[in-house]
Symmetry: C2
Subunit: 458 residues, 2 copies
């Protein structure tokens, strides 16, 4: 009998598995078709970019984006839409920064710089000093106080172009931008210049967050375009007495009130299991924040629209979150996790899209071995859409605070080759986004959300 049961049961089991695989393939195909044929994310991004613009935390544009996405989620038909209040830093750039290389023999060269986020201003009239060039914090430490005191430190460590994933090159180089000012101030530097975080040679200075260590004096710090960096490097090689002058009027104002915007579809079978998906609403001020991270915001909204349009009723609750203040504080992310903890929400998984609206190539997955295995097991379902790479474990800054609650972190991983060409610059504008690439990314997030809502993570 046992043998018979086994023989009978096996095909049934297989049939069920094939059926479920087929059913999921069909739903995923429907999701892709809905988005590729009737997607609205591209026109929403047009609005967010061209009508609202750069959305630095605390700015009127950030406030406008809160209202825009709140109303959009209401009109799309989320079960509930609400805001989560949080206090956010309010840093402003002030008037356009200026800088020049002062050579001893060939006059002055104006170069393009911008203040790094959170930097203090220079004194009125700017700072002029000699320059010491380094390529890493290590090199800075080796030079020490004697060589650095009274000088401007020029961090000129470039991206490692042999890194195929550009985020790996960024990860290695960005330490100069983040920590450089205080590391240099420790040795008596009066300011810092950081080579822009990019693979390209062009004239855009790339801004981004830095952080001061309160143990050391705060010195003004700026990013210089890679063309400017090459010129400064060349001049310093010709004459180490070359000086640098820069003036910035940025300042930190008192904290402001702002919001995450949250939409929700309640789960039909396990409403107490939450899946959070999102991107960040704020951006840097120089461009339109189209790739970083308007793309992630509108892709999140597209998932909501697609679930409603196709009548998908998720078994688990889905939260669509527009996070505030990813770029210079992550206060929205912290607030979201704080409230989730306070309300005892069982946040089983979170997906962030914050690596640009380029062709999706896979997902980073960070969770326990078993949960990771389950999710990576869905990989073949994504292959027809060009998503093959589940090898990474990158989630995203906004979902990271949820990790303490045991949430599986999932990050959409788009093709990264073009991301740092425009990242944190005036060139991060709507025209840099390709409609189909953006939509395919949205389809990827929608498919992953569907599978998570259908099967959970255990």
């Amino acid at each position: 009998m046992r043998k018979n049961i086994f023989i009978t049961a096996l095909p049934l089991f297989l049939a069920a598995s094939v059926f479920s695989q087929n059913k999921d393939s069909v739903v995923m195909r429907n999701i892709a078709n809905e988005i590729m044929l009737r997607g609205e994310c591209y026109s929403w991004l047009d609005y967010l970019s061209n009508k609202i613009g750069g959305r630095l935390t605390g700015s009127p544009q950030a406030a406008a984006a809160v209202e825009y996405t709140y109303q959009l989620m209401e009109s799309i038909g989320a079960d509930t839409v609400f805001k989560q209040e949080c206090m956010v830093p309010h840093w402003v750039r002030g008037i356009k920064e200026t800088a020049k290389i002062l050579t001893t023999e060939s006059g002055e060269y104006a170069v393009n710089i911008c203040a790094l986020g959170k930097s203090i201003a220079t004194p009125l009239g700017g700072i002029t000093a000699g320059v010491i060039e380094v390529h890493s914090i290590d090199e800075l430490n080796k030079i020490g106080k004697t060589g650095i005191e009274g000088k401007i430190v020029f961090f000129n460590g470039a991206f490692d172009e042999t890194e195929i994933r550009t985020f790996s090159a960024y990860g290695k180089a960005v330490i100069q931008r983040r920590d450089g000012a205080s590391k240099a101030a420790k040795y008596g530097a009066v300011g810092t210049i950081v080579r822009s975080m990019t693979n390209t040679l062009d004239d855009y200075p790339h801004t981004g967050a830095m952080q001061y260590n309160d143990s050391f004096p705060k010195v003004p710090c700026c990013a210089i375009s890679t063309i400017g960096a090459e010129l400064l490097d060349k001049q310093l090689k010709l004459d180490p007495k070359t000086k640098f002058h820069f003036e910035m009027s940025c300042q930190m104002l008192p904290d402001e009130k702002s919001y995450n915007v949250v939409g929700e579809i309640r789960g039909s079978e396990h409403p107490d299991e939450y899946i959070t998906i999102g991107g960040h609403l704020d951006s840097w001020d120089q461009g339109q924040g189209s790739q970083d991270d308007g793309a992630g915001v509108v892709q999140t909204l597209e998932v909501l629209r697609t679930f409603k349009a196709l009548g998908i009723k998720p078994k688990r609750t889905i939260r669509f979150v527009m996070f505030m203040n990813e770029e210079n504080g992550a206060r929205g992310a912290l607030k979201y996790a704080e409230l989730a903890k306070q309300n005892h929400e069982n946040q089983i998984a979170a997906i962030e899209s914050d690596a640009g609206g380029y062709s999706p190539r896979g997902f980073g997955v960070d969770g326990t071995v078993d949960k990771r295995k389950k999710i990576v097991g869905w990989k073949d379902l994504f292959l027809p859409y060009g998503m093959y790479d589940f090898s990474g474990d990158e989630g995203g800054t906004d979902i990271e605070p949820l990790q303490k609650l045991g949430t599986v972190m999932i990050g959409l991983a788009p093709d990264s080759q073009r991301y740092f060409d425009i990242h944190h610059t005036a060139a991060d504008t709507f025209d840099k986004v390709n409609k189909r690439e953006l939509e395919l990314g949205a389809a990827g997030v929608a498919m992953m959300t569907y599978l998570l809502s259908e099967y959970g993570v255990n």
Copy 2:
């Protein structure tokens, strides 16, 4: 004893396999590093695009590109560089085409069109006629002579946006462009308009080759921008009596002499086994032919440079071929295969890059089951570089004539989302190419060339 032999032999076999895998991984890593750090293909493409420009077969620019790449291969240090003479068609566009929609009630609308390659001109003063809109050849056949005679047929079949690979959408729609004129002329049409072959809605008309069937009258045929196509469709819906006027002065001149440009590195162990890699030197005239196919040309040259720079001495002979006349005749491709046959060359495999210099995602492979299996078996070696997809069998137009000789056809398969945005338009210019994406594609071709030259196809 037998058992013992087996036990001893197995680890040895495994060790050899692991060793070879490691050696290949190292060579491939070196290839990628050489190209990402010191690649020159991007600056060569700058020259080909901005200094030479669009290289329509028979044009002075095509001739200049022959000389440029000939000299480049000599200076890079190919063992031999030679030209293969061939006679090529010489079609010229003439003065800029004009067109307008003539409504019965709301006046005229100028729209952007361009002649399709090989089309005849309109009579001086243009053609004006009523319009019949169809979306496929089938629909045309159903309407037949009574509905079509004396009219301009407007082929408005759009791309199927649910096709994830845009080349599949192109493949379905392009039949209208290729065969539409004669199919319509068969029923007495006086001209044809074809919706541009693209995923986007914009105002560029996309040219491309068409072919006349000598059994039917030749009628002038043009491509209309998708914005123009939408407008014409709308006007025809408002009033089927809407007319269309267009004027074109294109013409076919007598055949010209031109060339393939071929560089060669002789194989060290199997010089009589040939691996051909290439792209096409000619392009359409409206843009700079940067993605189609300047990218493939400079990637081919980059493979040559990289082999020389790294001192790779291939076991088999490698041919680096700049094919002439892919766009409107493939005469260079036919000549190359004809000479290969005449000279009894054992052309074991051919790689073409003619799908744009975008992030590479894999290769199409077309050969016998065993040969295909061997090549697809190398797949994991390409994964670290983002090339995962070996599922297709697309080779390339220029290498296709070699297939009769038993050559395995291999096509570089880049991400296809952006390709048809600019394909065959004035917008196919150098600024559309990303340096790292172009270089990664070159690295992919170089790695595949290396493996083929090392291991052959049997």
